[in-house]
């Protein structure tokens, strides 16, 4: 039976001095991983406070990995952001941003594009393994600089993000477990890694460009993608996603926020293991983990559209997730009792094109301009 090491990382302090910590579970492969080029894996959950199902998935992964033949280093981090995770606001958990500044907790990672070209120029002739090792070292030393040498200090979120990123930079495969508000399961996948999207048991994939917008997935694959591009320009050719560039990062949206379901988490964990097995993290066994035989849809990020409430009111969400909705069919109807008798008490919201509904807002009560639904507006089968 495999056992995971446990450590505790200090990431914050509250006004009373209470320390906020993150538990870290690591499995060190007994073989020398670096010489074997077997991947190392980093999985975190609950960077957004209300998105808790990933913690249950990590629980189930730990339970299942006990009996797998592991060929990799694995780091599992539940409760990645205890500040967000503990920020109750009334009955609910304030989810997605620092409540003091409004900055999204998943937009605080570091990437300095300006360091890429000098690195490639300096290492234009280096051996592949040296490139990998040195570039990883560069990424890590940038993070260390951020954490240690700053007279002005770090924001609450940077302190957490950089400590997580330090671990993620040491991995080849990175999974950041999130959820939507009320949501189907969906996957954010870099365009170059599209083939991997079918290894998960997730029916909806958003293909994201190779640009950095502050999120964990981007923060871990963008540096390598940019490095590969610069080498390309300098005349040395690598394939992104292969060899030393076999780096993949995904944001896995596990369904709805504010919920833990351990039975569903077991299914979620099996889906992740089918991906990890394909990548050689665990050896195929008699039974193995296989992706389910489901129809998978994908769209490009530019076609993943938010629809905003055309009026304030109370919303009866009608459109089912993952089921194509024809043009003109109502996504939702908005109740406006103040208009009963002398106006229109029910307003139907529809679109002029077929869409695939993915998620909707967490509450029936909306202001004018609240994001009602997110949909695939132009999509295709994977």
């Amino acid at each position: 039976m495999n056992t995971f090491d446990k450590q505790v990382m200090h990431v914050g302090e509250m006004a009373s001095g209470a320390k906020l910590t993150v538990p870290i579970y690591t499995y060190k492969c007994q073989q020398d991983v670096s010489t074997n080029n077997v991947p190392s894996v980093y999985i975190q959950a609950n960077m957004h406070g209300a998105e808790v199902q990933g913690n249950a998935v990590i629980f189930q992964l730990l339970e299942l990995l006990k009996y797998c033949d592991i060929q990799a280093n694995i780091t599992l981090v539940p409760y990645a952001n205890p500040v967000a995770c503990n920020h109750k606001n009334g009955e609910y958990t304030l989810g997605r941003f620092d409540p003091i500044t409004g900055v999204n907790w998943n937009r605080m990672y570091h990437f300095d594009e300006s360091a890429i070209t000098p690195f490639a120029q300096l290492n234009i002739e280096s051996h592949e393994d040296e490139i990998k090792q040195r570039f990883q070292h560069l990424l890590l030393s940038q993070i260390e600089d951020k954490l240690d040498h700053n007279i002005w200090g770090l924001t609450t979120g940077q302190r957490i993000a950089y400590q997580l990123q330090r671990m993620a930079h040491q991995a080849d495969l990175v999974l950041d477990l999130h959820t939507g508000p009320i949501s189907s399961k969906h996957l954010y996948c870099p365009e170059y890694a599209q083939a991997s999207a079918s290894l998960f048991d997730i029916a909806h994939t958003i293909l994201i460009p190779n640009e950095f917008d502050g999120a964990m997935d981007e923060a871990t694959f963008c540096p390598w993608w940019h490095l590969q591009q610069v080498y390309q320009k300098l005349g040395r050719h690598f394939v992104m996603g292969e060899g030393i560039f076999a780096k993949e990062s995904f944001t896995v949206e596990l369904g709805s926020q504010e919920q833990i379901d351990l039975a569903v988490a077991h299914q979620d964990a099996l889906g992740i293991l089918s991906y990890l097995q394909h990548k050689g993290v665990i050896l195929k066994q008699v039974q193995g983990f296989r992706p389910k035989n489901i129809t998978r849809y994908a769209c490009y990020l530019k076609d993943y559209k938010a629809l905003y409430a055309p009026m304030g009111g109370m919303v009866d969400y009608l459109a089912e997730f993952g089921k194509p909705l024809p043009a003109g069919e109502p996504l939702a109807r908005i109740l406006r009792m103040d208009n009963y008798g002398d106006g229109d008490p029910l307003h139907h919201v529809s679109l002029d094109r077929q869409v695939l509904p993915i998620l909707h807002f967490a509450s029936a009560s909306v202001n004018q301009g609240t994001e009602l639904y997110k949909v695939f507006s132009d999509y295709f089968e994977l």
Copy 2:
């Protein structure tokens, strides 16, 4: 087709001066109701901000009542508390209390017990109809005093509550439409009105004593119950729930908060109409509205128990609402990933007695001491 009159009541102002109003729909019986002793009805919804389904029920009641033979005066008030209804706190609606003071919006109604005995003494010989008329007048004038003659002013919630109570005091049958957090349907019913609980399509009834704790239902039946008691002591006998004391008030819990479902609201409205038809508010028609043939459970308020989280953590709620849960069976399991590896990552919560689960907390994330479940701990069939 019956038409309801619409009025707009001004109940508050925000910092920008924006006025908050409540729409009021009234139907005046063409016959002289007072001489016929046909009941008058008051139904309100959304006193708690997140409890919005009642608005949809009022919509469906208005649609259904168009074609009923109405023998009563009816007042319907959706959005009863626009301050609460509009108080979004992040994605969710801050539900149950004034966010500045913490006072429950449904604990601000008025009842002055000290006025009962003098009234009864003064009217010990009066004719029944005079008693009814004068006592109602007393209740209304107390409210008017509160609203108009107070140099220190009124709290935000009192201003709303008193304006609603002014309308409710003019009714014989009062329904206050609420919801639980994540909840089955259930009914708060005064002990003396137990027979009426079976007229609704609601499987769970909490029988409340005849004491005033500030809520709308109590504020409307308690004065009459106390009056009947005082007359009893003074030697004049009336039966509570009959004749001029045919006063009933219920808090109807329609299910879960933060949701609107117009199809379910149609069903909810049918259930309410079966009660109203039984009370003579609408005449029985060929089809009529009949209570459903379901098993109905009740418990006394003292046996309606809250179970508090024995630890902080993330909760997988297991117990189904309305299904008896044997002693020792888990209501929930609490995930504590920080204990994985060197403690107990899963804690099962159970009780030493059979209970009937009614509702649970709205989020998986709980602090130690958060109310997890509310259950009937000692219950019986109605």
Copy 3:
């Protein structure tokens, strides 16, 4: 130099499992206090989250007590409520109530009046010291029961309150350090202890009746006051505030919330030491601590009035704290720019009687019905 012992009490857990603890500083008198009847003292701070100045006062008390001749047992508890203290809501600290339930953190203490009469009857002939010891034991065992033997669990606030009350019940003198929103210093003092109000350097005293409403001060003096009353009825006469009934509890309001000022805290600590010295907690030294020579005003709780905003708007608070405001003079003016040009853009708020303004609301932006000011409406010099 006196040294205080430090212990850490576990009072709560958050969703991530993070433990919330309270530091406790105790000084044990080397003499046997119980035989000497020298008082024991309990001082806590920050039960309400935003009311932090008391922590600084406890810091200064600890610094000053190092060099005093202490003749008592002393327990000092800063950060008494780490749940509230850490509950930031945007930039500010959500102060006065459990953000999930709305219940005021300082209304959760325990008092069971029904136990008093049986106790007095059983101990009608007992020796004074036995009465004191046994009654204290009764109070403590009630708290232990609450903490340990409850299958339904405790709310978040009860768990904290009962653990604090367990310590407070062992003291003769209890100070609960609070602040107002934007506020002058003022003192809540039981009516029977009025003479002690002049021992503090606080110009405004509210004299509270001997009734229990859930607060710490009441929870510690009410049991003894009721006991003395019951003995009185049973024919045995004690004087409240003397002998074994030398119990005093105060809520000390140190000024405005959301602020720490260590220099002011030093002054606040000197004022508390002048009270404690008078009570024999510290021996009078050459210099000693003497109450300042200031005019002190008092009013009864019934005359401590809140004035609610007659409209929504933005408030320019005009009335100075602690300075009598003649009838008709404006307390505040409310700006309503939406009325400029076609209405009244400035509304002056005044009263028909002279008052002594004590505190006002924390923000300029108010809804209709927000508490604007609290004032002494009928007051006298102490």
Copy 4:
């Protein structure tokens, strides 16, 4: 006496259907302004909810402008963002961002740089007045497109921002009235308009580069600055700040949030009038409005530094605003009572360089990583 026209603009709807409106006060110059090249002015206040003093300044401007000789069109908009202005969160106003999305209300304005070069190429030979008129028309039509032709709808904040920007684009001089948390008065001034900074009665100026980051000031001057730059490249020379490019926009920080003071607002209004008089908006009169004779400091935006809390705790803010603080002197001390007795209960925060403190956080209670102070770290006299 001059009179301002009043209009009401509908900018949002809440869940109950309550409409949120903004009052707009306009003065139309009787002379034909366009032919005289006298400026038109746009001033708004309260885009951030807690930053209310600007409303009082607009009140005082309206009062003062009644008796001025106005030579311009003037639009004054208090309560610019009623969604934010009415969003109370407990006692305080949630200030700076959409509480659902976390997006700063003052980062939602529109600027499309890609339209500049085509416009300049098309209008390379046009007469100055035509350029001004056509470019303004282009900016306005972009805003109209955003407001009217979007099947996906607008966010709550965009709907407000675009409606305000439509007015601001028609002005030459734009003032956006804000405040800091607890703050000195300071001014955000475009680098090219540095000379104007001395016309206000504000001691501290931050000189911002000509880049668009979403704010109102940038949204109104950046298009013109970019246009001037493109003309420069195309060989036609204009001077930014002169002629048709006499466009200036400032963010005026009036002090601390959550406060209205009408007397201070009168002073603030006089300072603004001294700027407007200098720009020819009002004719110089016998007395006139003159900038005060004070020392004015400025720094570049890159040198306007935030200092983050190195630990959680409770902060005694020591450094005075506007007074140079030598290297090594404490800005603040952080109280950590949990460390008393076995650690360091007071941590002093200082810097290794002289700074000019401008503002600090609104509460004493801070998490590790909260922004404590903002300071000029490298500054000079204007």
